[in-house]
């Protein structure tokens, strides 16, 4: 075949008309198209999950029941968690992986493009099924996203079985995606790009994919045991039949803890790409960043019971899990110090991606501190199941994972679409977001320490002031996100004016191709000094 034929640039296989449009997006095996599908799905679900959060915050504006009954409230709490974890953060990072991994390693596409299509298209079906449970008789799931038995087995509404089915589908999508990512990274790197010359984002996704393969099946096991206890007379989590409700917690959190690292490791990868670009300086300590990420992933398997300190663990177990949990602070600290060292004596500019990345370093670190406090078992007896925990995980998930997603979107959007986003609107979005995030979640530390439990629709009078503040912050946050929506939609209508390089300090293979990249990305393996690019 002639070179000309291999290199022929063509766009997506789509002609005029609605049928052709649907066919392109339904049957695409292109990593960029599939990445776009994941990102739009997660953006839509961000507003859905966000609306649920606003229902929660609305009810919590004042003591007393004003807007919803307690069962509906519990359903909102549960669905908000499930949607944000499984419908927003995970699909969004998979969308990033799809877009960026082949481009960053110089591959034409993912290793398994048809599997890729299925990995995505399961999601809208699974999410619709999950959402539909809210409208079934008895209502939707109302036992928290952690689904502790027996509240989620014997005492749960009938729709729970549909929720279990939906989660199985979500898990299947993640497993297939993880397999694809590993196969792609291990097999399709450009010649000369050894593992220790891959971009950090690719490294974090390689490790995340292994975490997914290891723990999603465990989660599937837990929810299947739930299904059996509910419908087939088993007693896995029922003491009267010889089982143990705490067994559920062990199995769930064996999945659940690595899961939160699945949510954050790709975020670390994004930040490790953005900061060097805007500091115009290579990432400090690449090798140690890789080792630290691997250490975090390893440690994430042996800390799960820190979610269970009040369940009556034996002393030796409490001590072991306390020590291991505290230990995670070491590699995480190494990463933070390395990012700061990347910035130090660089020549920084503060475009929107960099603003989100800097805010990430500040605020994720604060979330890390509250995490360290939570690791101390005796102190945890006062923190567990209070708003102190809610503050902790929102700091690491909102100003951690979500900010990294926003940073990455602003960073790569020009490359993906060939258009510039509006920088002024980006800055407005950033400042409103970061200020409102802190207004919403910082008071929650105080609320928890002062004695407010989690997952309650109503509270004692001394918690009123901070709840009011948090609600105001939440509404500002919610409406501020519309700025980003507008920015993206409006920018997509502009003409394509972006060059290959996009950002002055950007290094990496994705910045060597056009904006947007060619339909098949790299049809010939690129030749470059990959050492210079990390």
């Amino acid at each position: 075949m002639s070179e000309h034929a291999i290199d022929s640039h063509h766009g997506a296989p789509q002609s005029k008309g609605i049928v052709s449009f649907l066919a392109r997006w339904l049957f695409t095996t292109n990593h960029k198209d599939i990445g776009t599908l994941y990102l739009w799905l997660s953006f839509i679900m961000f507003f859905v999950g966000g609306a649920m959060a606003l229902v929660i915050r609305l009810e919590l504006f004042q003591p007393g029941l004003q807007f919803v009954d307690p069962n509906y409230y519990n359903m909102m709490v549960t669905m908000h968690g499930l949607v944000m974890v499984f419908g927003v953060v995970m699909p969004a990072f998979v969308g990033f992986a799809n877009w960026q991994v082949p481009l960053m390693i110089g591959a034409p596409d993912m290793a398994l493009p048809r599997l890729n299509n299925w990995s995505f298209w399961i999601l809208p079906f699974a999410i619709s099924l999950l959402s539909s449970t809210m409208f079934m008789q008895g209502g939707g799931p109302n036992f928290g996203w952690t689904m502790y038995a027996p509240l989620s087995t014997k005492y749960a509404p009938p729709s729970t079985d549909f929720m279990i089915f939906s989660i199985h589908l979500l898990g299947l999508s993640s497993i297939m995606g993880a397999i694809n990512i590993i196969a792609t990274i291990l097999n399709l790197r450009a010649p000369g790009m050894t593992l220790m010359k891959m971009p950090m984002f690719v490294w974090t996704w390689l490790i995340t994919a292994f975490l997914l393969l290891a723990v999603i099946p465990v989660f599937a096991g837990a929810i299947t045991m739930m299904l059996f206890d509910r419908n087939f007379g088993t007693s896995f989590f029922n003491a009267a039949g010889g089982g143990d409700p705490v067994l559920y917690q062990h199995i769930f959190w064996f999945f659940g803890h690595p899961e939160v690292y699945i949510l954050i490791l790709p975020a670390f990868g994004v930040i490790s790409q953005v900061i060097p670009t805007f500091a115009r300086k290579r990432l400090f300590g690449y090798h140690f960043m890789v080792y630290a990420t691997a250490s975090i992933a390893f440690l994430s398997f042996i800390v799960w019971a820190h979610h269970m300190f009040t369940t009556g663990l034996v002393l030796s177990a409490s001590l072991f899990f306390m020590y291991m949990t505290m230990l995670i602070a070491v590699p995480t600290g190494v990463k933070v110090f390395n990012w700061v060292s990347t910035m130090f004596r660089g020549a920084m500019t503060f475009e929107t991606p960099m603003l989100f990345a800097i805010a990430f370093v500040f605020l994720f670190t604060i979330g890390g501190f509250s995490g360290l406090m939570l690791a101390i078992v005796p102190a945890d007896y006062q923190y567990q199941d209070t708003y102190f925990v809610v503050a902790h995980f929102h700091y690491v998930l909102v100003s951690g994972a979500i900010y990294a997603l926003m940073s990455g979107v602003y960073y790569w959007f020009p490359k993906w679409s060939g258009r510039w986003y509006n920088e002024t609107l980006g800055k407005w979005h950033f400042w409103l977001t970061v200020i409102s995030t802190n207004i919403t979640f910082f008071p929650m530390h105080f609320m928890g320490l002062a004695g407010m439990p989690r997952r309650i629709p109503d509270y004692a009078l001394q918690f009123t002031d901070f709840n009011m503040i948090a609600t105001v912050g939440a509404f500002i946050f919610g409406f501020a996100q519309l700025i980003m929506l507008y920015n993206i939609v409006a920018s997509l209508r502009k003409p394509k004016t972006v060059d290959d390089q996009v950002w002055e300090g950007a290094r990496g293979l994705e910045w060597t191709v056009s904006s947007p990249p060619p339909y098949h990305s790299f049809t010939k393996p690129p030749v470059a000094n990959f050492d210079d690019m990390i």
Binding site: P63, G64, L65, P70, N71, N74, Q137, G139, F143, G144, Y148, P150, L151, K154, Y155, P157, A239, A240, D244, A279, R280, K281, R282, L283, F284, F288, T310, T311, G312, M322, L327, V330, G333, V334, F337, T342, M343, R345, G346, A347, M348, F350, V361, F369, L372, M373, I376, P378, A379, Y381, Q382, Q384, D385, G451, P453, R454, R455, I456, D458, L461
Partner: protein
């Protein structure tokens, strides 16, 4: 004269210690509390907090300095350093040692907390949906403790009182200075018994019992809440512990025993319809209305209506009594929590309020008789025609 001066000095000292120890209900921080464990936890918490603040100040100062001075707009040229094995090892080892310093006192406190031996009083705490039961195993007394906040306050029809959502109808009383051992379990789903000022949080797990202990140093009232999502009224099952002198504790135990005897005697008494309706309304609004609602319309399809239902207006009314005694489907059994008078009253109320108007009056003796009989909760009976016409229902 000397005795008087001595008394003044002692009172003065007591006053100062009271003031010094008084931690006002802080809106920002954990209470230091009134047990050795809560004190140890508070001290650990503050130590870790200050260490985190120190580390944060250092890291953020470096960042802020960099953000101000290392800008392209100032014309700086970026440096090229990008690795240093020495520095990486240093900032891994130093935090590791800081962690060890934190872990040692934490370990000590945890080991101390595990020692439940040689308790003076043992109380079995059982979490129910949505109340607590306290059984004093050595004293032979037991009672339920439910939220006492009036439902009007929750629905914003009355002003919320000072202890909104933190009031119960029957406090857990313990002696000051004695070691009180708690055996925590649950009857249905997982709950969690938490009183911040005592420094105790123990999950209540159905089918299992977990221990904790406390030695309260100061008399007073200490309030807490359930700390594990347990269903619709998770936010409405508070805990109130009253610590009193040993003498007052003994007197309280005796009174509890007497009350139990008195309640048993009520089973033989005959009450007027007015007495039963009045008591029944109070029981209904405090115990039943959380699910069946004040207006008796329930929340369909999960919580049935009382108004016009076949149970409330149909025959035999023994079915109505049995359902309350033994529970049915999602409704828990109330036979242990409510005495015969209370059940007779609430059944009378339910059968006559909400326009049900059956005219039925149930006496406690009838309820007592049903306790030992095989219950009939499921057999449907024909609806009895009410005396007055129904008004149209409001939408529920």
């Amino acid at each position: 004269m000397q005795a008087l001066i001595k008394r003044w000095i002692i009172s003065g000292l007591l006053l100062i210690t009271q003031v010094a120890n008084a931690t006002p209900e802080s809106r920002f921080n954990m209470p230091r509390g009134v047990t050795p464990i809560s004190n140890a936890i508070y001290d650990l918490h503050m130590a870790i907090f200050w260490i985190c603040v120190a580390i944060g100040v250092i890291v953020f100062s470096v960042m802020i300095y960099s953000l101000i001075n290392h800008r392209k707009s100032l014309g700086v040229k970026p440096a090229t350093f990008h690795e240093s094995v020495k520095v990486e090892i240093l900032w891994a080892i130093v935090p590791f040692f800081i962690l060890v310093v934190m872990a040692i006192p934490a370990t000590r406190v945890l080991i101390h907390m595990e020692d439940t031996k040689q308790a003076d009083v043992t109380i079995k705490v059982t979490g129910y949906q949505w109340k607590w039961q306290y059984e004093y195993l050595d004293e032979g007394i037991s009672f339920y403790s439910s939220l006492a906040t009036p439902i009007e306050e929750i629905h914003n029809k009355a002003k919320k009182n000072e202890h909104y959502l933190l009031d119960v109808d029957h406090e857990m009383v313990v002696p000051v200075g004695k070691k009180v051992r708690l055996l925590v379990t649950a009857n249905d789903v997982i709950h969690s018994w938490w009183v911040p000022q005592l420094g105790i949080k123990r999950d209540a797990i159905p089918g299992f019992i977990h221990e904790s202990w406390m030695r309260i140093s100061k008399a007073g009232v200490y309030r807490g809440q359930c700390a594990e999502l347990c269903g619709i009224n998770h936010g409405y099952m508070p805990i109130v512990v009253r610590a009193v002198s040993e003498k007052d504790y003994e007197a309280w135990v005796k009174k509890e025993r007497d009350d139990i005897t008195a309640a048993e005697a009520l089973a033989t008494k005959t009450f007027s319809a007015k007495e039963l309706m009045e008591k029944g309304k109070s029981v209904y609004e405090n115990v039943c209305a959380v699910c069946h609602q004040i207006n008796g319309l329930g929340i369909l399809p999960v919580y049935p209506a009382i108004k016009g239902s076949s149970v409330s207006v149909g025959k035999p009314h023994s079915r109505h009594i049995d359902i309350i005694l033994h529970g049915r489907n999602a409704m828990p059994a109330f036979g242990a929590q409510l005495n015969d008078f209370e059940i007779a009253a609430v059944v009378t109320y339910e059968r006559n309020a909400f326009d049900n108007n059956t005219g039925d009056v149930i006496q406690p003796s009838e309820v007592k008789a049903r306790r030992n009989v095989k219950p009939n909760v499921n057999q449907k009976t024909a609806k009895k025609k009410p005396i007055n016409h129904h008004h149209h229902h409001h939408a529920s």
